[in-house]
């Protein structure tokens, strides 16, 4: 049975509100949506959250002690939500920010709205000093094997079993890493010809990867298996992926279907295309 191939994913160009763009994914669970955006000058992430059944304009914006840089090609902010925690790879450029300490886990309850003492300056310092979740062994492995970064990309996904998956690529190779119970394990290097970013996705216990060109793969430690009949008609730039975790569905919305005066729930009911269910 063939599934609709209308899977399109936007990373940077999707604009929910003026100046706010969603990075990689929108998550909906327990009637609340979550997405992140990146400041267009100071690299810091904002966690946007609001009620699934309320207009998108009615949202809270929380300052996140981390973000991503603007180096070309862009590696979108790698983040995910699991339970009450936000996982992220803090790859913003800052002279005190150690890439080896970039993997963070921060309780969402600790995040505060922008304003008052929560400033760009304070959050940049916090991004460098916040304790890491795990030593960035995946990155260490990459730079140990080569001092040249080319076609270097990564993303993370929190898994149903409580582990954290990270896929990282450099110079034509890809490797899957898993952080579980306080230690890393990894598969072998897999050939990977991608020259642009990709996105990871957990669904029903399986790890998937969406290539920039729009192909869907199942990811295992030593294999990348294309999912049949799941090819996007365009690259990851035409819309937004929405993970409806309460329903175990993943859907897609096009940019031009968005209306901030309408709730995300209504938008999805009326306009979204199902990717996984």
């Amino acid at each position: 049975m063939k599934f609709p191939v209308l899977i399109l994913f936007s990373v940077i160009s999707f604009s929910w509100l003026a100046g706010q763009t969603a990075e990689r994914r929108v998550i909906v669970e327990n009637g609340t949506y979550y997405y992140t955006s990146i400041h267009d000058e100071f690299q810091l992430a904002t966690l946007h959250t609001g009620k699934y059944d309320q207009p998108l304009r009615a949202q809270t914006r929380l300052a996140f002690p981390g973000g991503r840089n603007y180096n070309d090609p862009i590696i979108p902010f790698a983040w995910d939500k699991s339970g009450h925690d936000i996982y992220a790879v803090n790859f913003l450029e800052h002279p005190l920010n150690d890439r080896m300490e970039a993997i963070k886990r921060i309780p969402a309850s600790q995040l505060l709205p922008w304003g008052g003492d929560v400033t760009i300056m304070s959050m940049l310092m916090a991004s460098a000093e916040t304790n890491m979740l795990a030593w960035n062994e995946p990155y260490h492995n990459v730079v140990s094997r080569s001092g040249t970064l080319q076609h270097f990309f990564f993303d993370i996904a929190s898994m149903a079993d409580g582990s954290l998956s990270m896929v990282i690529t450099n110079q034509g190779e890809m490797m899957l890493w898993t952080w579980k119970e306080g230690k890393w394990s990894h598969g072998n290097a897999i050939p990977w010809a991608g020259e642009n970013f990709f996105t990871l996705l957990e669904h029903r216990g399986l790890l998937y990867l969406l290539s920039h060109e729009g192909r869907l793969f199942e990811v295992k430690p030593d294999a990348l298996t294309p999912v049949p009949d799941r090819m996007l008609p365009a690259d990851l730039s035409q819309g937004v992926l929405v993970e409806l975790r309460d329903e175990n569905r993943v859907v897609f919305l096009r940019h031009d279907q968005l209306d901030t005066d309408i709730s995300l729930q209504t938008l999805i009911q009326e306009k979204a295309t199902v990717l996984l269910k």
Binding site: E41, Q43, Y70, H94, P95, L96, L124, M125, V143, T148
Partner: protein, 404 residues
């Protein structure tokens, strides 16, 4: 107002009534973006009475193209006049007979059409005209000429077509200026690199207006892109490396693997912690207070906020090690100097550090030449304990290379 043919003897203007009003340069001119990010400079690039005139840029081998609007103020004007312009280096804008426009007032425009200069800019040579002066003249008969004023524009000529813009590399005004100003008359890649580098040697890097570009004017500058350096004139190391590379790319010089990120290796530990920070000279090592905690890193500073407002100094609560004036940065005598990483450039076998105006033969030479110590830290109950050593041989730097 009537337009009278020249044959009538009733013209009543004197020659001071004609003056140049505006000049527009056009293709194949290069787009120049304003440093403040508000857009690009547009025609007309010269306007009489304007406080600031706009810059112009061409690639060598191309000829400038200029149009001009002259104005004549007179009750009775001829139906046409001859107009020509004379630029530097034998560049002439040929004489053309152009109509005098009708007008509801006594001021009439004379529109000299876009005309290629008689001579192209010498191929493969950088030029910096400051200014590019055109002397405009008019004539009734194409024989006897009268002055109509001069126009002046800063005009840049790049050696080759600039490299294509990217997300972070764009054709900003200061990039043209810094590059052409320093590399004028250069023709080779090495000559261009060498002369552009001159801008960074004296720790005074200036934008097109002569304003200072600061390396950490405030110690916690949040600016990490070339666009933000040019806009705010205060930024971090990444931006000066980008500026140097941009000033080369604008001349069409192509180099890959030129952007080098250096950081302490992640394989060396002290007392259970990765040694992941370093001190750029100068720092004074006082009496160590942590010998019993970590013998190899016996100096300890503590802080809750490393650089608190107003971001002019480190906010150590206790300090065995204190910051001193040392290696100055661009337009900043004592910039931030406690880091995890730094960004430099690599061109033709040389490591250039545009922030400090210094070069290194290799990454391994940097610690002994520029550092006073290494550090690790941990945070507990909101207080960070930073431990230091002044043993420069304790660890070393690793480098990752990309192409900017």
């Amino acid at each position: 107002m009537s337009l009278l043919p020249l044959s009538l003897a009733a013209q009543d203007f004197d020659y001071t009534n004609v003056s140049v009003y505006s000049v527009s340069f056009s293709g194949p001119d290069l787009n120049i973006r304003k440093d403040d990010g508000s857009g690009s400079y547009t025609a007309p690039q010269w306007v009489a009475g304007a406080a600031d005139q706009s810059p112009v840029a061409y690639a060598s081998g191309d000829a400038p193209r200029a149009a001009a609007v002259l104005q004549i103020t007179c009750a009775n004007v001829p139906d046409s006049l001859w107009v020509r312009g004379t630029g530097p280096d034998s560049i002439e804008f040929s004489a053309k007979k152009v109509p005098v426009s009708t007008s509801a007032t006594t001021t009439h425009n004379i529109n000299y059409p876009a005309t290629d200069g008689s001579t192209a800019f010498t191929a493969d040579v950088v030029r910096f005209y400051n200014p590019f002066v055109i002397t405009w003249e008019f004539s009734h008969d194409g024989t006897k000429w009268f002055g109509a004023g001069t126009t002046e524009n800063t005009l840049y000529v790049t050696r080759g077509t600039p490299m294509s813009e990217t997300t972070n590399f764009k054709w900003w005004h200061t990039v043209f200026d810094l590059s052409c100003r320093n590399a004028e008359y250069e023709t080779t890649d090495t000559g261009i690199i060498s002369h552009v580098w001159n801008e960074f040697l004296d720790h005074v890097v200036l934008n097109h207006a002569g304003d200072s570009l600061h390396y950490y004017k405030i110690m916690n500058s949040p600016n990490v892109t070339l666009s933000s350096l040019l806009k705010y004139r205060d930024a971090e190391c990444y931006t000066f490396a980008q500026l140097f590379l941009a000033a080369i790319k604008i001349q069409g010089v192509v180099r890959s693997n030129n952007y080098v990120y250096i950081t302490p290796t992640s394989t060396v530990f002290a007392c259970g912690y990765n040694v992941n920070r370093f001190l750029v000279k100068n720092w004074n090592f006082g009496t160590p207070s942590a010998s019993g905690t970590c013998a190899d890193f016996p100096y300890r500073n503590t802080y809750t906020t490393l650089i608190p407002p107003p971001y002019t100094s480190y906010g150590f609560l206790t300090s065995d090690v204190t910051d001193q004036s040392g290696i100055p940065g661009s337009c900043t005598s004592n910039p931030s100097s406690y880091f995890n990483n730094h960004q430099i450039t690599y061109l033709d076998g040389v490591y250039y550090d545009p922030c400090y105006g210094v070069t290194f033969p290799s990454v391994s030479d940097i610690p002994s030449m520029a550092f006073d110590g290494w550090s690790f830290r941990y945070t507990s109950s909101g207080t960070t304990n930073a431990f230091f050593t002044n043993n420069i041989s304790y660890t070393y730097l690793s480098a990752t290379v990309t192409t900017w």
